[in-house]
């Protein structure tokens, strides 16, 4: 199958990847770049599991073609931490047990990051709306809400 050379900015690094042009961003991240932190639940844009950030906005990587996002900033869960220091959301999700099986977690973390970057003090209702496209079958969402709220509070305190 003919491959196209793609130039992608992923987690702050410019990478050249050769992949068939019809491969989704999800497939290229996971299969060509070995960034398997991005998960898939349906590959039809229904569950939110494969969420990544494109220029800070949550996108479904299973519905995105890499050629569409060349030159834009792509953030996956692997790029959330600053070096070895976890992102505030990674800390609070861990502390409060907001990840159970952990499979939906990367997508939810990124959707929550986009929310907090846009609004450092969201209400419970705003959090629920921002995460309404991300299914989780384990938690009942309660601990996820609490973890986002705790990360937001710490962010406002400058921690």
């Amino acid at each position: 199958m003919p491959k196209t050379l793609l130039t992608l900015r992923v987690n702050g690094e410019t990478c050249e990847v050769a992949a068939p042009v019809h491969k989704t961003l999800l497939e290229v991240l996971r299969e060509e770049m070995n960034l398997t932190g991005t998960k898939h639940g349906c590959e039809l844009g229904e569950c939110g599991t494969c969420t990544v950030l494109i220029d800070g906005e949550p996108w479904l990587s299973c519905l995105t073609l890499p050629v569409e996002v060349q030159g834009r900033e792509i953030t996956t869960v692997e790029g959330l931490a600053a070096g070895s220091r976890p992102h505030a959301l990674q800390e609070t999700f861990t502390e409060l047990g907001a990840a159970q099986c952990g499979y939906c977690t990367p997508g939810i973390l990124l959707a929550a990051k986009a929310l907090l970057d846009a609004d450092p003090d969201p209400t419970r209702d705003q959090i629920a709306r921002a995460l309404a496209g991300n299914l989780c079958r384990c938690t009942g969402y309660v601990k996820i809400f609490e973890a986002v709220e705790l990360a937001a509070a710490r962010g406002r305190e400058g921690r």
């Binding site: 099986c101 952990g102 938690t139 601990k143």
Partner: protein
Amino acid sequence: MPEGFSVIGKPLPRVDGMGKCTGQTKFADDLNLPRMLHGRLLRSTHAHALITSIDTSRAEALPGVAAVLTGAALPIKFGILPVSQDEETLAIHKVRYVGDPVAAVAAIDEETAERALELIDVVYEPLPAIMTIEDALARDDVRIHDYGDGPNIHKMVALEFGDVDEGFREAEHVREDVFFFEGNTHLAMEQHSAVASYGPDGKLTVWTSTQTPHYVHRALEKVLERPAGRIRVIATPVGGGFGGKTDPFSHEIAAAKLSMMTGRPVKITCTREEVFYIHRGRHPTLMWVKTGFRGDGRITAMHFKSFLDGGACGSYGVASTYYTGALQTTTYTIPCYKFEGLRVFTNKPPCGPKRGHGTPQPRYAVECQLDKAAADLGIDPVALRLRNLVEPNSMTVNYLRITSCGLRECLDRVVEASGFRTKHGRLPRGRGVGLAVGAYMCGAGVPIYWNDMPQSEVQIQIDRGGGITLFSMAIDIGQGSDSVLAYTAAEILGVEPSDITLVTADTDLTPIDLGSYSSRVTFMAGNAALEAATKMRAIIFEAVAERLEVPADLLVANGRRVYVKEHPERGLSWPEAVRVAEARCGLLATTGSYRAPQLSGPYKGSGVGPSPAYSYTACVVEVQCDPENGEVKVEKVWIAHDVGRAINPLLVEGQIEGSVYMGLGEALMEEQVFRRGVHKFPSMLEYKSPTTLETPEIRSFIVESVDPEGPFGAKEVGQGPLLPVIPAVANAVRDALGIAIDETPITPDKILASVTDLRRGGTGRIGPARVPSIAFKAPIRVEPPAGWRKVTV
């Protein structure tokens, strides 16, 4: 924090939390091996058909295809229960449901494998298909399997404990009700996936997303006809199970065989649509329940009938059938009890165990009927339940041993917190509250295949730097089993959970744990870990005692030190203590084993239901129903769960909240239904499940009855809290609108139909009218346990 513990009872992070939050946890589909091929399964497009021929030549000729496999190469059948070995890896002569695997391909990539499937020519001869319980019972001209208790009856059971007729004669009020619980599926976020690698040394390794690596190991041994020692099964972290990954599956065996054929690793990851067809979820169940009450509400007798729509394979179905009759007696004292149940085969994806396995359906029926009876008798629903509650340290009429039981406290907590007594029957039309309770096992007392070996074993080994490694076959499916094992060892050895390295779920490296099902892991693997850690501590204490010249029983292990309790300055650091012990004893390695006490009653079928302990839950749900559009909004849920002892209250709450969520989905929207054998909506968009927007406020209460046999007194929490949620919703809807939706899910169309019926002078009931009038076999009559109190006037 409970006094005397330094780890147990603390809201600590999960030990696997950060790995999952950084994307470093490797799930099965995240594995990529050199030269790995990608496999796909061809699945039947017919619900019931004979296979006339399969021609794979065109697929084999496709460039990039490495191997094509059909059922003839794997003729040995398998299945999770020894009594239902009715599954073929790939169908040989006959397909039994749309989605039944018929061929498998391994190719250089998924697209090539997918194209190859299209080139496999299968000729089918369609057979009449059976789609309903009624059809399965009525037809004997069509047979799905050639075994069972009737043409299409997989299993029929009938048990009578005490004299039920006499019990009903004692009753002043008798109710008969019929309910239907719709099937639904697990919908774990991770699709099933397996990677198999057959090495030049003749060793086969299978990494798979499974809740039961031991049973996958056994199935591979049997079907591939290879010694168990030449097969290694590694369960990868499971991205959600809920019972959906507890059977051995065709894709696991096919991946293994394809790897053996090609000498290359093979990965098969199922699509979301395939997962809907793999199923093994909640059995659609039709139920009839007749209960006798005295005027004061005391139950005199219960007769329960269940009809399970099993789908096309046995799976756990025999156990599922018994479970629909087993646990009714664990919450209420039922003086005499009769259970008749049957499971039919139908040409639909196989049903199996989903969270609560066979018990949410009868729990829903019993709790809904109790509310109706309370209204008949003019007794409030709380009082009716209190009047019948089981007592701790008692025996049920069907020989289930009840030890710790915090049900009364659970009930008190939710009734008080919710203001149930002031709300029930008193809220404005459209608003209502509902109450229900439940109980669940802490591990099945009897293993799936008969054996007299332990159900859980743990090994602990310490290196001379002080590092502690704990080996266990338990697999974390999100419920937190890794954390429970680490907390247990850390508590006993006086270190931090992060000091424990876990090696889990690997048949080569870890001692047995039967798997993450039946809520068994905390109780059974936890007890095994407790024993191994306690033995290790004793070895280290003896060595340290010798060195310090003090009696060992004066020592404690805490804060990464071993020291004299009354003189904390007299002691050794953990690494020093370990070195002293290794110098004295050699390799520091201990083991622990757990086997449940002998709990079965004196009758056939008594293997299902006994457990070393039962968890208890009570739940109140408040709803707002719109009679104009039929919408139900769950406003708030109060739920109290007797977990014995919370090993980690944060994780206990997480299991309670997740159970509430899943129960609400089952109560209000989830349904696994088929049209001529084809799933109506095999997608996550159309299979409705609750999102963040449907999440109510959940107020959870942890009740600690401190079980005498649980590790640190702990019991289960993964499944029990789901049970009362569904009937509590149904009872709340009845309270809100005066209607009775006697089937799940309670959808807007049913509410509108019911409200309309009520307005036109009808009863406002939606639900099945009757159960099939089939003659069950004569029941096995069982005398109640010795000393069982007779019904007295």
